[in-house]
């Protein structure tokens, strides 16, 4: 019998499958999600998601719920949710606590019989890869006819790639990753200005995960603006994963909003390398475009998920990476990225917005360009 290749233990905390399911439900335009579990479970993200207009409530399982079961609470909350919010689409999401005691989410739905679709997600936080939470949510959406088989398969393929990206050079690449604030923004911006002034040729790549693009795009925009200002605009090639014809409704909407704003603010996109949910594979497209057209460029600015860009065709360039994960700094440096900048707490600032949000690095670059 083949023994599974024992996966190494990873000690640093990582994104949770329950949270991943919550974000997926948001992308599916769910109005209210009921977390069936303890009151504090996923508190921070539940709160943040409300910025995006999705309500999150909890069945508040307590000690007695753990012992005697939480079916009645779930029924009660489901009924209240229907009355209070009049939702068109409801999600019910499991937690470690409710799943361990064997709660059946479906029983409550059968009992209440809501006349709107309910996406039931039997998930807990004990999966090695948090993408499992997305897959379970999508399976349930598929079962209730909310997404098509084709979209489901597409998403599943992307998630598999996302997991691989994290294993290769991301949060799951090492037993323990030290958090790190990255390089000083003003130093990195200074070096970038220097290269621009020297008339070096550069790639300006946005490869961001979903709504985080609202802030990462600001950095690419700042680079384009600065190059323009210095009269070296034509030296810069812009690429972005802003295809608005793929993905779940929210991702398409966001891609369109960002693309329109970039255009309106004078930035031309030379290449579209994929959609906002295609960040695990869009790097491959970018890599191909680079090897065919720009193999001898001098530098590259990569924002979002820089570690998803294969290193082969850019390894001779001076690399500027902007990430939002303090635990992504070390792996990026290991890959050979010379400058790594962290936009700390970026994600929360990109919830509930429909326009580009100013980034620290972008602001730094613009400010320094004034004196250049």
């Amino acid at each position: 019998m083949p023994v599974k290749e024992k996966e190494p233990l990873i000690m640093h905390p990582r994104p949770s499958s329950i949270v991943a399911a919550l974000y997926t439900l948001r992308d599916l335009d769910t109005d209210v999600v009921i977390l069936h579990g303890p009151p504090g479970c996923c508190f921070k993200h539940a709160r943040l998601l409300e910025e995006d207009g999705m309500r999150v409530v909890t069945t508040s399982l307590d000690e007695s719920g753990f012992v005697f079961g939480g079916h009645d609470s779930l029924v009660e909350v489901l009924e209240k949710v229907i009355k209070r919010f009049n939702p068109k689409r409801i999600g019910i999401v499991g937690t470690c606590a409710s799943m361990i005691i064997g709660e059946e989410l479906h029983e409550a739905v059968t009992e209440v019989q809501p006349d709107v679709p309910v996406i039931e997600v039997e998930v807990h936080a004990g999966y090695r890869d948090n993408t499992k939470g997305v897959i379970i949510a999508l399976e349930s959406a598929l079962a209730s006819g909310i997404i098509s088989e084709a979209e489901f398969e597409r998403q599943k393929g992307l998630l598999k790639e996302a997991t691989m990206v994290e294993k290769r050079h991301g949060a799951a690449s090492k037993e323990y990753l030290e958090p790190n604030r990255g390089d000083l923004k003003f130093k990195v911006a200074g070096r970038l200005l220097e290269l621009l002034k020297q008339g070096k040729k550069g790639l300006n790549i946005l490869n961001a995960k979903k709504e985080t693009a609202f802030m990462f795009a600001d950095i690419n925009l700042a680079v384009a603006e600065t190059a323009e200002k210095l009269g070296c605009g034509p030296n810069i090639i812009n690429m972005a994963n802003l295809d608005d014809n793929v993905g779940l409704p929210k991702n398409r909407r966001n891609a369109r909003e960002i693309k329109d704003e970039l255009k309106q603010r004078g930035m031309e996109l030379h290449h579209i390398i994929g959609g906002l949910d295609e960040y695990p594979v869009a790097g491959n497209t970018a890599s191909r475009i680079i090897s065919e057209n720009y193999p001898d460029y001098d530098f590259a600015v990569i924002t979002g998920v820089p570690h998803a860009l294969p290193i082969d065709n850019i390894k001779n360039m001076e690399l500027f990476s902007i990430t939002n994960g303090p635990r992504q700094v070390v792996p990026l440096k290991d890959m050979g990225h010379k400058h790594v900048v962290v936009e700390i707490d970026l994600h929360p600032k990109t919830l509930g917005v429909n326009h580009i949000v100013e980034s620290e690095f972008g602001a730094t670059l613009r400010e320094m360009a004034k004196d250049a």
């Binding site: 019998m1 083949p2 799943m99 064997g102 059946e104 029983e107």
Partner: protein, 263 residues
């Protein structure tokens, strides 16, 4: 859809021996049978496998094996498919969660509970937590049977199980009396069955053959097929396979239960 049954009753009352003999008897009649042992003791299928202990799903999961159907589904007497869920060491972890995880794995990698005529879930004596009713809640059980003797404690347990079933809105398809030689036993259990709204399906006498065959790793059906008790199991198997109607049981109060054991 196959007939999917679970046999409930007090621990030690004879659920596993009844389950394996019924499985063997049904296999003799040409039915395809699957038996799923849900007791962490994992002793449900041993007499269908000539005394062999098979690896349990939980054992393999604990070792981090990449589990395939052939690792957990074993062919026993006349092709009966045998699966043991197993469980953690007593006093450690969560056996209930184990059942939930094991059942969903089994469903994913095997057709043993779909492509068959009869699935028997051999459950532990006490439904101690949510995990132990997972097969029922997941819709994998559509008929329940209660096994009891005519003694007070087994009847008390049987009555409690009926409370659980009625709470789950699960129907009871019959009561089976496994005799322990108490006086007037058949009448007592038959009366109990009637009062909870069910019927006595079979009276299995106490017979040392059950234990001697068991010791050698056989069911009575296989080792002593001409014995009277083998005939009883065969008859029981036929009435289980026959289309039967279940009813949600109405448990008795304790006073009535005590009276019953005195008739």
């Amino acid at each position: 859809m196959p007939k999917q049954i679970a046999i409930y009753g007090k621990g030690g009352i004879g659920k596993s021996s009844t389950a394996s003999n019924v499985a063997a008897a049904c296999a003799d009649e040409g039915h395809r049978v699957t038996i799923i042992g849900c007791d962490p003791k994992s002793d449900s299928s041993i007499t269908l496998l000539r005394g062999r202990r098979i690896p349990t799903i939980m054992d393999l999961m604990r070792q981090g094996e990449d589990i395939k159907e052939e690792d957990i589904v074993f062919s026993g007497y006349k092709g009966v498919k045998c699966v043991e869920i197993g469980g953690p060491e007593p006093g450690i972890g969560c056996a209930g969660r184990g059942i939930i995880v094991a059942i969903s794995l089994l469903k994913k990698i095997s057709k043993a509970i779909e492509d068959t005529d009869l699935v028997i879930y051999d459950v532990p004596g006490d439904i101690v937590c949510g995990g132990f009713v997972a097969p029922v809640k997941k819709g994998l059980v559509n008929e329940a049977y209660v096994l009891t003797s005519g003694e007070y404690m087994p009847l008390y347990a049987a009555n409690n199980i009926c409370k659980g079933l009625s709470r789950l809105e699960m129907t009871l398809n019959g009561v089976i009396c496994n005799s322990r030689g108490a006086p007037n036993e058949e009448n007592i259990v038959s009366e109990f069955a009637k009062e909870i709204g069910s019927r006595l399906l079979a009276f299995i006498p106490k017979d040392v053959l059950v234990q001697t065959c068991e010791r050698e790793g056989y069911s009575v059906i296989e080792k002593a097929s001409d014995s009277a008790i083998a005939g009883v199991y065969r008859k029981l198997a036929r009435s289980i396979m026959a289309r039967s109607e279940g009813k949600i049981p109405m448990p008795l109060d304790d006073k009535r239960l005590r009276e019953l054991t005195r008739i």
